[in-house]
């Protein structure tokens, strides 16, 4: 391989990368991943929630981060539906409601009824709504995304204020997202918050996890795979391919290793060239 060619024409790198990512996905290879502590924390917290508690799920990401966060959302929401919990869906990003519907179509709802066990409230347009819904959901969401008046929904009658929720989970790819929940729900009202985040933002959210303000963080698609394996171990009716994360793990490994190899090769070439130049002087 001509190393100079690599440096000047990135297309070779791209081709290798494509091969290394696509082949494992097409071959449906699966790589079990052990659970890390932040993922485990979220799983255990949900598993230990008292029966019939309210959980608020907030999808704060857009269509571009669907490959990273939709698997997380799918597998966590499936977990919520497996237990006897009540779920309210909201979103701080405009794509949230549509993506919520996509997730709900993908999971097995275990005979949960819309309106009694779960409801999709829709988009949170501003901070005032975010704050206000903690005290009174109905005045800030008079209808849900399907047009039903919220005052007629049994789940809203049972939990008229969001502050009664036992957990808030937000799947976040940017702002508005986790920081608003921390600012207005966690620090003012002491509501537990969990987050699923894209890999780029996770380092910025780790301090919140370390200080205990967030009960746990799911970092990128890898956490979705970890979660899927833990969930499958306890609830065997959940298939391993549900979120699609498990097969992505092989691609992730191979692509990471390819980049590592490329960097090492590039550096070796660079150092060899430099020595040659110095020897030539």
């Amino acid at each position: 391989m001509n190393k100079k060619a690599l440096a000047s024409d990135p297309r070779l790198i791209y081709v290798l990368l494509v091969l290394v990512i696509v082949v494992p996905i097409l071959s449906h290879a699966v790589l079990p991943v052990p659970a890390t502590a932040p993922t485990r924390a979220v799983y255990d917290f949900i598993e230990n929630l008292p029966l019939n508690s309210l959980v608020v799920v907030s999808l704060d990401y857009s269509t571009s981060t669907v490959p990273e966060l939709q698997p997380q959302a799918t597998i966590v929401i499936q977990h919520l539906f497996l237990r006897a919990l009540k779920v309210l869906f909201v979103a701080q990003w405009t794509d949230g409601p549509a993506l919520t519907d996509a997730v709900l179509d993908a999971i097995d709802k275990e005979n949960k009824a819309y309106g009694t066990d779960y409801a999709t409230l829709g988009y949170i347009p501003n901070t005032a709504t975010l704050i206000g819904m903690t005290a009174d959901i109905q005045s800030f969401f008079p209808v849900d995304t399907r047009g039903n008046p919220t005052k007629n929904l049994p789940i809203i009658q049972e939990f008229p204020a969001a502050r009664e929720a036992a957990l808030v989970i937000t799947f976040v790819a940017g702002e508005p997202g986790l920081s608003l929940y921390l600012q207005y729900w966690q620090s003012r009202l002491n509501m537990p918050v969990a987050a699923g985040s894209v890999a780029a933002l996770a380092p910025g959210y780790m301090p919140f996890y370390n200080s205990g303000q967030v009960v746990g963080i799911l970092i990128s698609i890898r956490a979705a795979a970890e979660y899927e394996f833990i969930e499958h171990a306890q609830y065997s009716q959940v298939p391993i391919g549900l979120s699609g994360a498990a097969s992505a793990m092989v691609s992730q490994s191979t692509s990471h290793l390819l980049i590592v190899v490329m960097i090492i090769v590039g550096n070796v070439a660079y150092l060899v060239n430099r020595r040659k130049k110095e020897a030539a002087k």
Binding site: P50, N52, A135, P160, R163, E164, G174, G204
Partner: protein, 660 residues
Amino acid sequence: MRVNELEVFSTRNPILLVLILLIFIPAAMVPLAYAVPIQGMQVLTAGPDKWEEKHVLRPWVIYDGASFKMWYAGENAEGVDRIGMATSTDGISWTKYSDNPVFDVGSPGSWDLDSVNDPCVIFEDNQYKMWYVGQTWGATAADDLYRIGYATSPDGIHWTRYSENPVLTTGSLGSWDDRRVWRPSVISTGSGYVMYYRGAAVGEGSQAKAGVATSSDGVHWTKTAVLSMPAGSSGWDAYSRQVDALNIGGVMKAGDMYIMSYASIKARNSPAQIGLASSTDGINWNPYTDNPVITYGTSGGWDSGPGGVGAGNNAGSMILAARNQYYVYYGAQDPGSPPTYTIGVATLPISIYPISQTTSTTSFTTVSITSIPETTTISETGVTQQTKEATTTPVSQPFTLGIAMPSLFIGRMSQAGLLVITLGSIFAVTRIASKRKLKTRGIPGLERLDKWIEQAGELKRPVLFTPGTGTIQTPDTLAALALLEHVASRCAQHGVHIIVANADYNVHQVTVDIVKSAYKKARREDLYKDDSVRYISTRQFAYAAGVMGLLRRERPALNVFVGDYQAEALEIAEAGRTDAIAQFGGTSNVDQVPFFMATCDQALVGEELYTAQGYLTNDADAISKLVGPDAGKALAILLIAVGAILVTLGNNVLTSLLRL
């Protein structure tokens, strides 16, 4: 109207700066400010003695003007409760009496043989009077009988039971309290006594109500009323009010007003929180507007168990006024398995319910006592001496200022103080630097920017400026717009066509204005085209696609990416590398900084972005603006270093002061 030389609106104006200080310092210092709900701190733990090794519950505290005394129930592994005593000089650090328990269960065959708890003690007529709950256990927990008894003591330690206990029994079959009565809270009115207690009916769980009974002698009681509490406005007690259960903690009388602490839950399985209520007649109550006042912890601490604080049959709460504030003692569960109940306290400012009396009188009507008879049997120290404000802190406790305030208030106050000091140091250093014309570190990228613009003019290629994907409210965007001013005017001077691609329509309006006036000033309106400044899309990757297309078609010589960027930054920057001569980037988003460093020839990182505009205008004044924030940074470094050392040595002063 012309402004005089003093320049009212200027950072040099000392009056203005003093005004700013005046806003924050008094605002922070005035104890009017407080915020609820707060969390309390643990003061009494279970064990190690066997009699109280499982739980410590249901505290009752009295204050005699100099020190505090607490009676509480300790539970052993078999579930039997006995009453113990502890003393304290500051209400926060307690010493258990060496010979606890001071009140044991009754003799076999008596009504209180199985368990005694729920002490309620007042000091009157030179003796301690206690009402307590005695339990007779039945076959199942539902058959347990709780009734209220009476005992007296000269010293709070050696008790004599009243001969005809129990003094308050369950009601007749069918009444609201026909199964059990417990949690007595007695107030002496001078001419008699009023008792608040909880009662439950047969078939009821913990949805117990609260009732009132009166007596002239403390042993013969007449039940008078059942209480009901209006719901709180915030919904914190929705479920409790719905099932009409009143988990009354303790009631005190302050002047003409009755004050109650009570626990409630918002939904069926929510953890409990504590609120306050007041009443003028003791029967009709008004909840405090900002309820709940005390809440549970969430991160595994002593009060983060599933039951919450002050809840259920076990934890209890009570309120007392002492030393110009309110002390609320309550029990809470920890999240262990099985959970352990321990006792804690939270202090609230007297301004919640201002009392006209001084601190020495509390819930009992006798004059403050400074000596307690027969103190020789009590082994703790400091019972009779005048207490001083806590100036030293035991290393394991959170820091208390001695005028214990809700912790949230301390945090805000010290935040305000820190803000004032930081702002002050920034502007002071700025002034000094501008006067002395200090040579500061430069920002190399900014110097090359002009050269690159010139080169673009020679090559007759445009300059692309993207102010990021933030809204007009983001500081990064504002800083980018400040830089755009400079770039646009330079472009106009060198005859270069500038293209601005926006992701936010409000930013778009502002950029149109900036670019148009820059070209107008340099009299090069011919260079400004209608689509020079364009709005592409608010959607992140549609914007990236649009800008990448722009880069391919227009082939600018210089790409300037400054502002608030998310993931699209790398795509734009990499796509621009192929054709551009130079790339200049800047952001304060720490996630994107590595990408900028890897793809841009020059990058502004973090605060360099905010000081760039001042730097570009290139005079002493502006350079000093670079130095100002460095003062703030020095302060931050100092605080971090000092705080880290202190925490390593075990002292929590700084962290407690600065915690939110």
